[in-house]
Subunit: 136 residues, 2 copies
């Protein structure tokens, strides 16, 4: 029996909904230390990008590209960090993060750091609106 896609409960708890793209759910990590988006392909049981079928893989790379371009333009950041780790949450998800000199833990990565700082509702809404506008 085929399973259907359900967003991982930890990803759901840690993020805010942004947009539903052709292949993926786009979410905003609810941590205002960095502008940090996550793409989750709506493919049941997917864990590794290199195991996806060709069309899905290509679509996912296009979505990564669109989000990275949008985030770069929105923030004017110093560097975009893109990563697929999945050592803790196995459901395939792609991190796309705007980094700047002097941000928390710069120049090291953002994962596994204590001290999550949730957004205020207004700031999250503004960031989400900017991303949606760029993707339209």
């Amino acid at each position: 029996m085929k399973t259907s896609f359900v967003l991982d409960s930890r990803l759901e708890a840690d993020t805010l909904a942004v947009a539903t793209l052709a292949l993926s759910e786009l979410r905003l990590m609810n941590d205002c230390r960095w502008p940090w988006f996550i793409l989750v392909p709506k493919i049941p049981d997917a864990e590794e990008i290199h195991h996806l079928e060709g069309d899905d893989q290509l679509e996912l790379y296009q979505e990564i590209n669109c989000v990275a371009l949008a985030l770069d333009a929105m923030t004017g950041c110093s560097k975009i960090n893109i990563a697929m780790l999945g050592n803790v949450v196995r459901q395939l998800h792609i991190h796309i993060i705007a980094r700047n000199q002097g941000d928390t833990n710069w120049p090291n990565p953002v994962w596994g750091l204590a001290g999550v700082k949730p957004y205020t509702e207004a700031i999250a809404a503004s960031l989400i609106a900017k991303m949606r506008q760029r993707l339209d």
Copy 2:
């Protein structure tokens, strides 16, 4: 005047040559704590994958895919980690790492950890030969 591609000196110092692919140099991080390969597209001044021209971007994604599949098959690892960070070394390079439960710093990322353990010559040569064979 167009500049030509030169491998970043830090990447060169930290890695061993594996193969020259259509677009990228494939290198092995000289740290036996994890099977960790790096792709460096031979494009002068490239820093962000989303700034590459379409054909180069597609080729790079195909090379990432080939290396990830090869590494997965070679190692039978628990998870492949793929990342483009570049906060320290700006030259575009893609990390492709085999991770296993219980390895150094599992399940957290591998970057920025002290204690590099260089390979013995024989073990590096064996890993490089396996990767070359898979890519052929």
